[in-house]
Amino acid sequence: MSARFLENDRLADLLVALETEGLGEEDTRELDRLIADDPGASRDALAGAASAALLAVRVPMQPLPPSLHGRLVEQGRVTVREATAAKVVQLPRREPGTGTDAAPAGSSRLGWYAAAASLLLAVAAWWPRMSTEVPVPVAQAPAEPSYAEKRQQLLDSDSPVVQVAWSGTEDPASQEVGGDVVWDEATQTGYMRFTGLAVNDPGQEQYQLWIFDATRDDRYPVDGGVFDIPPDGGEVVVPINAGIAVREPALFAVTVEQPGGVVVSSRERIVAVAQVAAG
């Protein structure tokens, strides 16, 4: 099975590097360009070969630690159920004056910028990473109970739920952002509620949540999932889908990323932040 595109030395080198040591931003862009220029080329051209070669190594098998096994099963079931259900439910517009989700006024926003300066530097440092093919949430079909109802149930529960209002940034998508995020550490569930966050074109870009955990290095926030804001207006409630356990959330941040949540560019677009009060 010949693949003429692999005769392109540079393309082949980049594909090999992708599967063995990863690519930086510049190389990723170059790979994308080369693939776009060659209709026969595929980003996954060597993925199967690399995996097969890895499987051919005598790797001593080790059983999963029991506690990890339990977490995987629990989170897996939740993820699978939610991935096949609605991802976002639209609600009627809020009545003026209701809710607790308005973004703080300018002074507190400025305060956030000052307080979060070091954190944003950490975000910038962390930026170039990210996986190649993180898939997606998407569209919406009403579910029973709705995410809005689940969110309310969470707030009404006895759990000590974290609830923090979103603050906007200077990003154009975030000018009118409001709403809040609620998170229950005990059940590792949470919901984001948005108003005024710009509608995105899922074919061009998607929003992605990152959760900064005080017990982890700020450079490596937890991936909270990818989501869309549909064009119909009103409030949108999105479930949080944390990839790993969040022990002590310190900050929730929403960014604009490539479709599927892949981050390969220098588009440092943070569109909403919600900082959890210390203590």
Binding site: L55, L64, H69, Q75, V80, E133, G243
Partner: protein
Amino acid sequence: MSESLMTRIARGDDSAVAACIEQYGSLVWAIARRLLRNQSDAEDAVQEIFTDVWRSAHRFDPSAGTEKVFVTTIARRRLIDRIRRVANRVQTESADVLDELGFHTPDTAADVSVEAELAARVLQTLRPEQRKVIELGLLHGLSHSEIAEATNMPLGTVKTFMRRGLIQVREKLGVSVGETEQ
């Protein structure tokens, strides 16, 4: 033919989750433990990997390979990402340590997967130093530069060995698919 685990997961059958973890959990854990330094990092990585598996299940194409290769590809790429961003790469190891593992023979690899068997057939034909380059890159998580340093090979040679080896494995897998289809 029974429905694949990925197909079941993609259509929301959460009973397939536990079966998938039973099937591939030890493999993913073993790879993560090889590539990451400490248990806590490996546990976080495995959670990320399986989250990707659940979300990506709908993209599994049985004509392109087995589920084991599908899961291994997700694991491998996630771990590469993690190593790059955490700077947690296993430090360049001595040649003594690097001799620990080695490859299956085609016979023993057949117990792992059909792709592993085919890859083992290719790898068996390679020179030992070329096999070592592939092993160091894929299972020890070393960058090409680190492999060059660990083996005292020129960087260009390392890249050439890696590239030729993977392309040969790819061709072997492609031929196999063609033969199967006839």
